[in-house]
Amino acid sequence: MKKLINDPRAVVDESVEGFGLAHADLVTVIAEPKYIVRKDAPVAGKVGLLSGGGSGHEPLHGGYVGMGMLDAAVPGAVFTSPTPDQILPATLAVNSGAGVVHIVKNYTGDVLNFETAAELAQAEGVEVRTVLVNDDVAVEDSLYTAGRRGVGGTVLVEKIAGAAAERGDNLDAVAAIGDRVNQNVRSMGVALTACTVPHAGAPSFVLEENEIEIGIGIHGEPGRHRIPMENADGITDRLLDPVVSDLGLASGDKVLLFVNGMGGTPQSELYIVYRRAAQRLAEQGVTVARSLVGNYITALEMQGCSITVLRLDDEMTGLWDAPVHTAALRWGV
């Protein structure tokens, strides 16, 4: 394991501290209990938007704190959800009186910790709504699983709900648009290599030189199945097809196409995947109205990518285009 770190146990502390130094114009970093909060929080009259989860997915979530997106991000240890004693003060810090929306990726740990924090916040008189993100089609959503995971769709939920909060939507409306994004977004990922959690010291799974893992999440957990290496177009089809069919996309639909890198994949390769996905969607009569390509929700240094498709309507498109000013996503300002 070769990493640019000092102490495996200090990775999150030092990284978040560096983030705070680099983006002091946008955020304040609270060291203990740890959270990252928008410089001007709470914004008077605005619904607060908060997300969080295990670290190791940077720029998620800290990179999305700022005008037009999140008011706070709560980082846990690497791949480990944060705790209620972090989530609660962050919730209080972003509450201007208009209530707070928690955006929670659907993992048992995140759900339980945010649930507790929401109860505690409500006990302190803060109204909390939770938007659960579960867009990963690789996992069957059934009684036999913990349900679909929240992956790439999370970035889109945060951006669009963030824009709704910024324009002044009330608590229920912000939560509703977040839910609507979640209902219209699906994702699927592939790993070419595993990743190594710093405190674990060894890769989370081992792939042979000629193997890839289809249907991985963002925690270095194994996927649904392992297949021999294929070319980029073949892999793209394996990711895109289930996304398209699960979404029930039809000719005439407009979508946002998001090709996400897992952290260790060169951008040039992501564009090769984007090319194929865009061509196939076009063949099906689907219009790619917006695009996003890059490392936006990662799994440390994993090589691989995920494809996320969001079915757009005019309101979501407008909210996507609305100004945003965060460390990792910025436009219109």
């Binding site: 240890a77 705790t83 209620p84 740990g109 699983t145 995971r149 959690v197 405190h199 957990e221 649904r224």
Partner: protein, 209 residues
């Protein structure tokens, strides 16, 4: 023999030792069917409990478990944090401020802990989670208590049953937590949370020796 605050403090110290000692093993168990953090999470949590107990001296076993609950809740994170947090909290509530715990109270407190885990995580027996260590453990504990066993017997029974329960998760297909994403591929691996549960119950038994 009854269990007092000294037992509780010995228990928590032994549990912390066990987590440090088995940290790697728990990480390894969490690797194939999880995300390689369970050992790190539990070790971090119990190190924090040890630190807390160096500052604060709880008056009775219930207070010690409540402090443990709050610390685990705020330091462990992941699925295990809220689950163990709830377990210790429910056990603490069941104990109230009794200074001395007899066998029946002990069995009831263990039952409350298990019920807390189930209430929180909604797992059933056979879902390949820590519940599969706790359910046989409380059944064995209740059995030992109603057979007239003392607290030592009750804890021995619970620890043994939890250990067997953990081993019994090997062939199970996971239906809760991260391992459930793997479907059939979760079969043949032991659940890390069941193993950490058995370690914690074994520490409780040792503390009573």
């Amino acid at each position: 023999m009854e269990l007092d605050i000294d037992w509780a403090l010995r228990w928590l110290a032994l549990a912390a030792e066990a987590m440090a000692e088995h940290r790697e093993e728990l990480i390894e168990l969490d690797r194939p069917i999880g995300d390689s953090d369970h050992g790190e999470n539990m070790d971090r949590g119990f190190r924090a409990v040890t630190e807390k107990l160096a500052d604060t001296v709880p008056e009775n076993p219930g207070a010690a478990l409540k402090l443990t609950a709050m610390t685990l809740m705020s330091k462990v994170g992941g699925a295990a944090g809220p689950l163990y947090g709830t377990a210790f909290l429910r056990a603490a509530t069941a104990l109230g401020d009794t200074p001395e715990i007899d066998a029946a109270t002990l069995a009831a407190a263990l039952q409350a802990a298990r019920d807390g885990i189930v209430a929180r995580g909604k797992a059933e027996s056979g879902d390949k989670t820590m519940v599969d260590a706790w359910t046989p453990a409380i059944e064995a504990a209740a059995g030992a208590a109603s057979d007239g066993g003392d607290v030592r017997k009750v804890l021995q029974a619970a620890a043994e049953a939890a250990e067997a329960g953990a081993v019994a998760t090997d062939p199970m297909l996971a239906r809760k937590g991260r391992a459930s994403y793997l479907g059939e591929r979760s079969i043949g691996h032991r659940d890390p949370g069941a193993v950490s549960s058995a370690l914690i119950l074994r520490a409780a038994a040792k503390a009573a020796e």
